[in-house]
Symmetry: C2
Subunit: 107 residues, 2 copies
DNA sequence: TTCTCATATGAAATTTGTTTCATATTTCAT
DNA sequence: ATGAAATATGAAACAAATTTCATATGAGAA
């Protein structure tokens, strides 16, 4: 049996701050301070989390003066989130725990 | 900005036991005790984790005598894992942290 | 250079998630 | 009914991930 070890990859989608970052970058690249402002999280927290995302190639960075501009690897992220969305809409409202069906209501 | 709250969904892919369960069920449905045996994890641990997976509709259950047969929701899971695989093979070996590039070597 | 802004980093504190342990529940066989 | 097998459940113990805090680094402006 092939033991898949994708844990660390998926960790990037399983916390609020990181999904916040991902969501924030949906509309285009942003600098760290812009992300910080958008999320209302602490700078160093955002920074730590950006590192994880970057290390898994979910984000890309480029330097621009003193700023670092982060952008989303949409090729992976978009279909990933689309898949979940599809899953949610297909579940018939049976996922009490994961909160996705609640999300449904919000939209 | 729409705040995505998919955390809990992705949590199901970001730990070893649950990915182990998912992997075990790739080849077809299994009872709890069969999963326990296959993974070498404790029964109650497997049981707890099965609950999470089921609640997010990643797994389905059906009763069969005293047994409960769990099966994989392949429609969601397969393309999800395929996506990650594609991401990995496209990353050019740059994801030191997430361990996916190491997986590459294993195969 | 020195100052300031933007970001990163390490370690401690905190929060969250996972596993274990003991026990309960369900179902079937006797 | 009673016992045994299969699974579930709750709470405590444990482990791991996240956040915060203090500080460091780097880059440009004065």
């Amino acid at each position: 049996m092939k033991q898949i070890s994708y844990e660390n990859f998926f960790t990037n989608f399983s916390n609020k701050t990181r999904l916040g970052i991902i969501t924030a970058l949906m509309d285009g690249p942003l600098s760290v301070s812009e992300i910080v402002e958008k999320l209302g999280e602490e700078q160093s927290n955002v920074s730590h989390n950006l590192e994880h995302l970057r290390k898994c190639s979910i984000l890309n960075v480029k330097k621009e003066g003193k700023k670092r501009i982060y952008s989303l690897n949409k090729e992976t992220v978009e279909p990933m989130l689309e898949l979940v969305e599809k899953h949610v809409y297909g579940c018939g409202g049976s996922c009490e725990e994961c909160g996705l069906c609640n999300l449904k209501e919000e939209r």
